[in-house]
């Protein structure tokens, strides 16, 4: 009973992080910051959802399979984000900077 409540709370927390990642994907201005949002919060959200499902399932074979899924999401999701950003950087995509006129010709114009 208490594990059910903990599992549901963990899954809801994971859903919150997934929602945050989705909002960041829509709202952020360029490729790097969008990738930053989805890479971090989606990894944490999926891991929390799977951990909550493990708590609800109990100590069974399905729980072991979910544990493997959690380990591989933890390994591969940041690596995939890193590969995307690395490929974009190698192909010459410039990061976005706020065009602030008050600072004049600053060093962080990104051009």
């Amino acid at each position: 009973m208490i594990t059910d409540i903990l599992g549901i709370a963990s899954a809801i927390a994971g859903a919150f992080f997934l929602l945050t990642g989705g909002i960041g994907l829509i709202r952020f201005p360029d490729f790097y910051s969008r990738n930053h949002a989805t890479g971090k919060s989606d990894t944490l959200g999926i891991m929390l959802v799977i951990f909550g499902l493990m708590l609800i399932e109990g100590f069974t074979l399905n729980s072991a399979k979910l544990l493997f899924a959690l380990i591989f999401v933890f390994l591969t999701n940041p690596a995939g984000t890193h590969a995307l950003v690395n490929a974009a950087l190698h192909s010459g995509l410039k990061p976005w900077f706020r065009k602030d006129k008050r600072k004049g010709e600053g060093s962080c114009t990104g051009k």
Partner: protein, 146 residues
């Protein structure tokens, strides 16, 4: 063109993950009788494991794992395993791919059908894996890589 240098982080993660993808591919192939999966799906996952190493480490290093010249012969061998199973059943008196007529002694009819489906799925998995890797290699033919 910008020269591609292989990234250390991606290479290490791919080295860790790639054997587990192969193990899952074998699980999918050998559980094709009585659960989700089968030869085509397992072969595709196996090809994904090989292509992951090709993408992460570059073409020349991945030749140590699966050579380009092996693609077409292994695909042909897979198709031959498939066709040979069906033709063996046809020679033994049944129809093409009627596994109940396979000439193996000491098996019940149900076990014989299970074994025949397993043989066919191994052949299909081998063919799909080799052909997908061969398609990738043929698409990269003549591309200026380092």
């Amino acid at each position: 063109m910008i020269r591609y240098k292989s990234n250390l982080i991606i290479l290490m993660v791919s080295r860790v993950v790639s054997p587990f993808i192969m193990l899952f591919a074998l699980y999918v192939i050998f559980h094709g009788h009585y659960s989700a999966g089968g030869g085509f799906q397992g072969g595709t996952i196996m090809a994904a494991s090989l292509l992951l190493m090709r993408l992460a480490a570059g073409r020349e290093i991945a030749q140590l794992q699966f050579r380009t010249i092996l693609g077409t012969p292994l695909g042909s061998i897979g198709v031959l395993i498939y066709f040979g199973t069906g033709f063996m059943a046809m020679l033994a008196g049944g129809e093409f791919l009627n596994y109940g007529f396979l000439p193996f002694a000491g098996f019940q009819a149900a076990e014989l059908r299970s074994l025949g489906i397993l043989m066919v799925e191994i052949g299909v998995g081998l063919a799909v894996m080799a052909i997908l890797v061969a398609i990738y290699d043929d698409l990269l033919e003549g591309y200026p890589h380092d």
